[in-house]
Symmetry: C2
């Protein structure tokens, strides 16, 4: 089986393969928030591309989350901070969510046969599941407005590292090779390694160091969200 | 000044800035061949996107080079092997050239105010020139059919490394940070580092190890090709 890393939603069509499993990655913070939400008992989520769609769900009585450029959009109770999803209010709820990059990546990969949500928070359980499927894997980084970003690539490298450890996966993709190298430089101190990254600087301005530290801590939420029709559900 | 790395021609429009200098990079082998050609006395080159355009130039009496997927196209005397340009036949000539990735990257960046050609063969002279211009720089990797590739990114990392050494350039771009990391892992043995890369494997099948070694040896051709209208000329 092959494992490939796609750096941006824009490039996804070049990586699309009919039977491959796509893992959508937006470490800071959409996919970390989604994994946290399911771990805290959310029943379903509806990722939508636009804020207007999220508002429409809200008008119809759903809980809704909307974030652009790191901030919660006015009129929404939730954004993409994982801490927003750590309370009893979300339990059993269906939540619509629209974010700057993460939900755009889900949108770009809609045609994939299976779409999973990945983050450091569910790293091990995700990798165990992938190895058991014996299928090609495309790691789709959400990036930042269709540009490469470090944190998503480093996480992709962590997955490549684990999946290639037992030789069942082959890497013929230069971006997967590069991601694995970057992860191996970063892994002993992800927080420091990412201190220069553009998105960490962006979040630091918004006083989100606590979010960053949480998003970089592995295996706190052993659940795998998966797309089923228009919904994300727990696998 | 800022320095950014764009991994593919597809993504270039996201990086375009009116006054930035673009450096087009296709280490294996288009930009290595172009730099070699000018070092060996070629007078001008005309990069063209399609093989048909190259053929048209040929019909009009020009020398012409055309390569797709690593091989010279039938009917052309030159491809993108630098060794093809190391002889007296090319001296003083105007040569049209079309390649799988390199000339596509030039095409994508046509609107840039200045387009230079970079490769390990002209690394130092290129960096010295860039530092002296005091302008923003976009390092445009040709990649492989709009996917990220290792060798172009590692070369971009070498340029980032040199340009940031004296603090005159700022890096706010995650792909530039990643490229510099990859270069620093690779620099002591580029040949070995790139041995897993997809393109090296592709070229190894075509028996082009000699080309690879040549393309990875720094500063053999201290010239800087630059676009002037539809022509590449020596700066």
């Amino acid at each position: 089986m092959n494992i490939e890393v796609c750096h941006t939603p824009q490039a996804y069509s070049l990586f699309h393969k009919e039977n491959a499993i796509v893992v959508v990655i937006d470490v800071f913070r959409a996919t970390s928030a989604i994994v946290t939400a399911f771990y805290n008992g959310v029943s379903k989520m509806v990722p939508v591309a636009t804020v207007d769609e999220a508002r429409e769900y809200q008008r119809n009585g759903y809980m809704a989350a909307a974030e652009r450029d790191g901030e919660v959009i006015e009129g929404f109770e939730l954004g993409n901070s994982p801490f927003g999803y750590m309370n009893n209010k979300v339990k059993g709820k269906i939540i619509a969510i629209s974010t700057t990059n993460g939900t755009q990546a889900i949108e770009a990969s809609r045609k994939a046969s299976k779409i999973l949500i990945g983050s450091f928070l569910n790293l091990d359980i995700l990798c165990e599941y992938l190895v058991a499927q014996k299928k090609d894997v495309v790691l789709l980084c959400a990036g930042w407005k269709n540009k490469f970003n470090l944190e998503d690539t480093v996480f992709a490298g962590a997955v490549v590292d684990k999946l290639t450890a037992n030789n069942s996966y082959q890497v013929d993709c230069d971006s997967a090779i590069a991601a694995k190298h970057l992860y191996n430089i970063a892994k002993n101190n992800l927080f420091d390694f990412l201190s220069d990254s553009s998105h960490r600087k962006r979040l630091a301005k918004l006083d989100l160091e606590r979010d960053i530290k949480y998003c970089l801590t592995s295996n706190q939420c052993p659940v795998i969200p998966v797309m089923e029709g228009k919904y994300l559900v727990k696998l």
